[in-house]
Every structure is written in structure tokens, then in C-alpha cells.
């Protein structure tokens, strides 16, 4: 059974992971050719 410490770890990990994914999203959708002019 999951306890509050496990949930805390999962929530922390998920939160930071989502932040990293949001940055990855920005990286993926950034347009390098636009910047190159």
C-alpha cells in the first residue's frame, strides 16, 4: 500500500518531470531557421 511519503516522492518527481517535458516541448517546437536569419 502506498503511504504519504511515497506519494510525496511521486508528486515531486512528476512535477519536476512535467517541467522538464514543458521545456522539451519548447525545444521541439522552437524554429531554428527563423532564428538563423
Amino acid at each position: 500500500m502506498i503511504d504519504d511519503q511515497d506519494l510525496g516522492f511521486i508528486a515531486n518527481f512528476l512535477g519536476i518531470f512535467i517541467f522538464a517535458l514543458v521545456i522539451a516541448y519548447h525545444y521541439v517546437t522552437a524554429d531554428p531557421k527563423y532564428e538563423a536569419t
Partner: protein
């Protein structure tokens, strides 16, 4: 507008968009999972239980709804509250939450998923938090593109301010209302961006859901007109604005009037007047634009002069009539809560019942940091980002944040309205920063390998907005901005694509940062995000998950659980007659009816100030006078909450001054000064005789000295003033394990025959007047 056209399949742009879309769906799913799971600490640390006070009432209503159906629910007259007045529940409750949970419960049972009503109620708030995060994504996407939307949604999923009202078990109106609020704003902006009547209709329906859910709907019906007015004043009027606003007012008001608790208030109270005024203004403006189109400039000038002079006179008359109407109503046409929004000191001066609620107090600075954390620092950056470039959508979110910051400063409860605005602004700020840094990294990494490709693609990208890094993405906000751009801007757009201005070149080059600097900046931003996440998880786990009905404390011996409330309500339910009336301060009314199923005199609805003042007066009076008041209300038991033994600060002694104030507001013989020694509230030997003889003091501290021999109060940190006394008109029937809840029964009046005999005896012996003997038949 090459950048806005959909890219050809197979091209790098199409691949990028496709990969981006997949990633955004994944992120949104994870955000939903996080929003749900971060709110489960209360269930894991405690149990699956309804929290606090108001949620118990909502739970009871949902139980009734699921048992008796919707028609019975609308007609439900509850005789278990506000005895002897009762309460028409169907006509006085915002039904959105209960109907939502009831529908979910019905749907699940139809699918043969046999969840109890309580389980559905406990998990409604976390589920709607996920919805609210997704609605935030949609709203922010309309304003500043998908990237900002994802960042804002991630921030909202775990913002402590919202968590405090939506943990599992917190079954209150705000749980669904915040989703409805954000979704209504999204549909308004969507209509504003597209001019679609379809979205305008959906917007009115979303507004209807919001009206069903929470009294805070007046925020929407004032904020949107303010934005419309702002657009008109700044010369941003367009048919899209008309479509976004006019159907909302007409349909929305009609729908709002269908909700029994609102009814004709939707057109009669002054909270709604701003929307009607702006409704008239937008029609006048639309007419002016139409006439301008059909008249020559000279004729138009003449017409304007004529109309303005006549219009001024008419306006003056109408405003004078309105002011007279508003001023003639008792509260100046505004309800007490609304007035306290405009004048923060209003409630504390005039309406103690509003001021007595802790969530109606102004917040402190630390509570901002606790509730929105790093967002407080990111918001200014987001506001600046909204101004470059300013669109209708971005001006709306700027207005939203400004208004919500003001209102949150008035009432700590409205931090909840600020939280989504702060998340949107911070999401925009973070997204802009991510855009610059990730774009720079991508450019720097790709510059060496793709240098040959750059030249040939110049032609397709030069038309994109010059000052926006995210312009490569096809977001609607940009489209609108471009359409509204000045003639000068349009001329610029028509310039040959292969001749970009020197200024634009300089700007673009300035946006590309060195690789190392970008990586370091991104790492710092991740650290900032991580700090926010850790704070939010800590707040969810430690600060906001306590259900208030079960308390815990950690000591050297281990975890202590204080389950006194449920113990007492269970005692009431098992040991008293089903029709017995229980008097307590209004805080515990909802819980008593929901958990003990006993009739109460006042509850958390606080609709009748006189009734609450009567209970307040009884609690503040000496024993005999209190007995008379309670007896006249047919009360059998009195419940008091006492924290002096275990150090529980939210007890009745700490709330007692509010009882005195509210009681004194209606019954002038109760004076606050009589309960204070030199302006200080004391319960020790220095306390005033009025305080020491009040019913609340006696019921709280009766036999308290037997616990430790001294009568040391752990909340007030002092020895009590009056230690040894007996009760004459009340008898103790139950005290919970930790003395948190104490129940007393009203003694029956002494036999009248004995009183007569006594009277005769006294008449013959001491010659006391018959009047005084009659007045005191119990002694």
C-alpha cells in the same frame, strides 16, 4: 502570412508540429495525473472522509438528491436546520456541485460501478482540479500559444492556493467553480478570437454552470464587461467583441435567472448592473460604427455633435435615477459581501457576521508566498510579456490579474480567484523565457550543421512578427494581433519578403543567446520550477490536507489522533431522541445535521442574523437567562467545543467575542466592553464577572479543574479565573475523550407545585414579593 498557413506534410515544420502535439498531449495527461494525485494526501494520511463544515452540508444534499431525485431536491424544505424557521434547501443552495456529483454517481452506477455517494463526493474536487488545469491550458493557449498553455496548466495543477480548496474530501462549491470560471473565460476569449456564435453560446452555457456552482459568478459578470469597456475605450471595438459579449449577457442572464438561488437577482441587484450598462454602451458603439460606414465624414461629424449633446442629457438623467434607486435601498443596493469588497473595512464596521469568518479577513504577505509561492515573482514578467504585443486576449488576462490581486487583498478567500490568473501570467512568463533559451540552444546546436539550409528558408520566415520568438508557431493570438495592426504595420507586411528591415535583423540577432548562457539559464529555471514543485507538494501534504474533523498531533510517543467530533456526533445520534434540538455556535450546525441527524438552531448558512444573534446572546448571558432563551427555542442539548485541555485553538472560547459582538448587534444589553478587562480578552482571575458568569465560560470550564488540579488552559496559556462552580440550569451529559466537545442538557423546570409551596413559605417568612418569586421558579 506564410507562418500561419498549415505546413506541407513531411516538411520539418510539419514534423515539428506533429511531434509537439504528441508531446503536449502527453504533458496534459501527466498534468491531469499530477493534479489528481497531489490532492490525495488527505485520503492517504487520514482516511476517505468529508472535510470541515460546508462540505458536510453539500454531502447531505447530495445524499438527498441521489436518494429522492431532482424534483424532490428542488422542493426540499429542510426542517432540521434553523429551527423553528427551517430552510428551503432547493431554493437557497447553489446546486452546481451537488448536481455534478449526483450525475457522476448516477452515471457510475448506471455503468455498474457501485461507488458510494461519499466516495464520489470525496473525489469530485481532485477530478475537477484536473479539468481546471486543462481549461487553463486552453485559455492560455488562446492568449499566448501552446507552450504558455502547458506551463500555466502545470503551474495550476499544483498551486497551493487551489489545493487548499480542492483536496480529496474538500467537497465545496469552489471545487467545481474554479474549473467553471476558467472555462468560461476560455470560451469568452475563444469567441473573441474567432467571432464564432457557436463558442458564444457555449460561453453562455459555461457561465450558467458557473452561476449554478458558486456565488463568485459575479466576478465573471463584472470582469467581462470591464474588459469589453476597456476594448471599446482603447479603440479595439470589433464585431467579434460584440459576438463575444452580447449573447453572453442576454443568454447568460436568462439562464442565470433559472437558478432558484439567483432568480430575479440576475436583473435586480447592482452586482449585475455593470453588464447591462456595458451592454447598452456596446450597442451605441456598434451603431456609431454602422452610421460611420454609411455617412460621409462631414455628415458624420454633424450627427456626432447632435447625438452627443442629446446623449449627455439623457445619460445624466438615467445616471441620476440609477443613483437614487441604488441609494434608496438599505445597503445602498449592494449586498454586504460585495460592499466589503469595495471597502475592505465595511464588514468589520457594520457586519460582524461577515467579519467573524476567518476567510473573510485580508491576507498577510506571508500567505501570498505560501499560497502562490514563486508565481508572485513571475507575474510581473508575465504582464510585461502580455504587452508585447498587446491583443484583446492578453489585455483580458492583464485585467484579470489586476482585479484578482485587488480582491485577494481584501479577502483571503479570494486568493482562490487570484491563483489561476497568477498561473496564467507565470506560465506566459516562463514560456517566453523557455522560448528564448531553447530557441537559442537549438539554433546554436544546429547553426554549424544546417548553415546551408538557412539561406533558402529566409523567404518563408521573414513575414513572421519581428519581435516575438514564438511567432513561428501558429497561435491564434498572433493572428488577431496582426489583423488589428495599424495601417503602418500592414504596409510593412506588404514589403517584399526578401528585403527585411535592418531593425528587424538587429532584433532577431539579439534574441539568440550564447549556448552556455542558455543552458545555465534553463537549469536555473528548472531549479525554480523544482523549488515550486517541492513547496506545493509540501503544502499539499502538510498544510492543506487536514480534514479538520479528525485532528492529529505528533509527539515523542508517536502520532496522536483526536477523533472527538465524530465521537460526539455519534453519541448524539445514539443517545438522543431524533426530534431533539441541539444548540451550538453556527460553525457546527452543518456537521450536527449531517453526522448526528439532529435539528439545529443555526448553521453555516448564516442567512438569518437575528437567529444567530439569539444564540450568541444565549451563550453570552448568565446561566438562567441563557436557559430561558434556549428553552424558548425548544432546545434540549447545548454543544460547545473546548480546546483548553489539548491546546486546540479554534474552540468556542476563542470565538466567544464574535458571539458577543453578533449578539450585541441585535440585543443591545450585551456589551462587548463588559467582557473585556481594560480592553483585553481574559479568562483568568482578572476576567470580568460578566465573562466568568457567561454560559460559554461555564460550559467550557465546568469541572475543568478536575483534570490537572489547577485548571490550566493550554490555548490561552493561563489558569482559569473561576475554577469551582456548579451548574444550576444545565447538566453535563457527555464530554469527549479529549474534552474537545462537551454536551449539556437543559434541566427541566422545577415542579410548579413545589414552587408554589416555596412561594407561600417565603411569603409568610420573609415577606418577599410574589413578583420576584415568579421570576425565579428554578431555585
Amino acid at each position: 502570412m506564410a507562418a500561419l498557413e498549415s505546413p506541407l506534410p513531411g516538411t520539418p515544420t510539419a514534423m515539428r508540429n506533429a511531434f509537439g502535439n504528441v508531446l503536449s498531449v502527453l504533458i496534459l495527461v501527466l498534468i491531469g495525473v499530477l493534479a489528481f494525485s497531489i490532492r490525495l494526501f488527505s485520503v492517504i494520511k487520514y482516511e476517505s472522509v468529508i472535510h470541515e463544515f460546508d462540505p458536510y452540508f453539500n454531502y447531505r444534499v447530495t445524499q438527498f438528491l441521489s436518494k429522492n431525485g431532482i424534483y424532490e431536491f428542488w422542493n426540499w424544505f429542510d426542517d432540521r436546520t434553523w429551527y423553528p424557521l427551517g430552510r428551503v434547501i432547493g431554493g437557497t443552495v447553489y446546486p452546481g456541485l451537488t448536481l455534478t456529483a449526483g450525475t457522476i454517481w448516477w452515471g457510475l452506477n448506471s455503468l455498474n460501478i457501485p461507488l458510494s455517494v461519499e466516495t464520489v463526493c470525496v473525489f469530485t474536487a481532485p477530478v475537477f482540479s484536473a479539468f481546471a488545469s486543462w481549461a487553463t491550458y486552453l485559455l492560455t493557449k488562446e492568449v499566448k500559444g501552446s507552450g504558455a498553455g502547458l506551463a500555466a496548466a502545470a503551474l495550476l495543477a499544483m498551486v497551493p492556493s487551489y489545493i487548499s480548496r480542492s483536496v480529496a474530501g474538500s467537497y465545496d462549491n469552489e471545487a467545481v467553480a474554479i474549473f467553471a470560471l476558467i472555462f468560461t473565460f476560455y470560451l469568452y476569449i475563444k469567441t473573441l478570437n474567432t467571432g464564432s456564435l457557436f463558442y458564444a453560446t457555449l460561453n453562455a452555457l459555461a457561465y450558467f454552470y458557473m452561476v449554478c456552482s458558486w456565488g463568485g459568478y459575479t466576478f465573471i459578470i463584472n470582469l467581462i464587461p470591464m474588459h469589453v469597456l476597456l476594448c471599446i475605450v482603447t479603440g479595439r471595438y470589433s464585431p467579434r467583441l460584440y459576438i463575444a459579449y452580447a449573447p453572453l449577457v442576454v443568454l447568460g442572464t436568462l439562464l442565470a435567472a433559472l437558478v432558484p438561488v439567483v432568480g430575479f437577482n440576475a436583473v435586480l441587484t447592482s452586482e449585475h448592473f455593470a453588464s447591462f450598462l456595458v451592454f447598452i454602451i456596446i450597442h451605441v458603439v456598434a451603431l456609431v460604427y454602422y452610421i460611420k460606414g454609411i455617412l460621409s465624414p462631414k455628415m458624420f461629424k454633424v450627427a456626432v455633435t447632435l447625438v452627443v449633446s442629446i446623449g449627455m442629457v439623457v445619460c445624466f438623467i438615467v445616471v441620476a435615477i440609477l443613483v437614487a434607486l441604488v441609494a434608496s435601498s438599505p445597503t445602498g443596493g449592494w449586498s454586504g459581501r460585495s460592499l466589503s469588497l469595495l471597502d475592505p473595512t465595511y464588514a468589520s464596521k457594520y457586519i460582524p457576521i461577515i467579519a467573524s469568518v476567518s476567510e473573510h479577513q485580508p491576507p498577510t504577505w506571508p500567505s501570498y508566498f505560501m499560497d502562490i509561492n514563486v508565481l508572485a515573482f513571475l507575474v510581473p514578467a508575465g504582464i510585461i510579456a502580455c504587452f508585447s504585443p498587446l491583443s484583446d486576449a492578453s489585455s483580458f488576462v492583464v485585467l484579470y490579474i489586476v482585479m484578482s490581486v485587488y480582491f485577494s487583498g481584501v479577502m483571503v478567500r479570494l486568493m482562490l480567484v487570484l491563483a489561476p490568473a497568477a498561473c496564467i501570467m507565470s506560465g506566459i512568463a516562463l514560456s517566453q523565457a523557455f522560448d528564448v533559451f531553447t530557441g537559442s540552444i537549438k539554433y546554436q546546436l544546429g547553426a554549424s550543421s544546417n548553415s546551408t539550409d538557412d539561406a533558402e528558408d529566409n523567404t518563408s520566415t521573414n513575414n513572421a512578427p519581428k519581435d516575438d520568438v514564438s511567432a513561428g508557431k501558429t497561435d491564434k493570438g498572433e493572428e488577431i494581433v496582426k489583423e488589428r495592426s495599424s495601417k503602418k504595420g500592414k504596409k510593412k507586411e506588404r514589403e517584399p519578403a526578401d528585403k527585411p528591415s535592418v531593425k528587424a535583423k538587429i532584433k532577431k540577432k539579439a534574441l539568440v543567446l550564447p549556448l552556455e548562457a542558455s543552458i545555465v539559464a534553463l537549469l536555473l529555471l528548472i531549479m525554480l520550477g523544482a523549488f515550486y514543485v517541492i513547496h506545493c507538494v509540501w503544502a499539499a501534504a502538510e498544510a492543506y490536507s487536514a480534514p479538520s474533523i479528525v485532528l492529529t498531533s505528533q509527539s515523542r510517543d508517536g502520532l496522536h489522533v483526536f477523533d472527538d467530533f465524530r465521537e460526539s456526533y455519534a453519541w448524539l445520534s445514539h443517545n438522543t431522541d431524533v426530534d431533539d434540538k441541539v444548540a451550538s455556535w453556527w460553525d457546527y450546525g452543518y456537521q450536527t445535521t449531517a453526522m448526528a441527524n439532529r435539528t439545529v438552531i443555526v448553521d453555516n448558512n448564516t442567512w438569518n442574523n437575528t437567529h444567530i444573534a439569539t444564540v450568541g446572546t444565549a451563550m453570552s448571558s448568565p446561566e438562567k437567562a441563557a436557559w430561558e432563551i434556549f428553552n424558548s427555542l425548544d432546545v434540549k442539548y447545548v454543544l460547545v467545543v473546548f480546546g483548553g485541555l489539548i491546546g486546540y485553538p479554534s474552540d468556542d472560547i476563542n470565538k466567544f467575542l464574535w458571539m458577543v459582538r453578533i449578539g450585541g448587534g441585535v440585543f443591545p444589553h450585551i456589551k462587548e466592553a463588559d467582557y473585556l478587562r481594560d480592553g483585553q480578552y481574559r479568562i483568568d482571575s482578572e476576567a470580568t464577572p460578566t465573562m466568568l458568569n457567561s454560559l460559554m465560560y461555564k460550559l467550557s470550564y465546568y469541572r475543568f479543574v478536575e483534570t490537572d488540579g489547577k485548571g490550566y488552559d493550554r490555548v490561552r496559556r493561563t489558569e482559569i479565573g473561576k475554577k469551582h462552580f456548579k451548574l444550576t440550569h444545565f447538566e453535563e451529559v457527555f464530554t469527549s475523550h479529549h474534552w474537545m466537545v462537551r454536551l449539556y442538557k437543559l434541566k427541566p423546570p422545577r415542579n410548579r407545585i413545589r414552587g408554589k409551596a416555596k412561594k407561600l413559605k417565603s411569603k409568610t417568612s420573609s415577606g418577599l414579593s410574589s413578583k420576584s418569586a415568579k421570576k425565579n421558579p428554578w431555585v
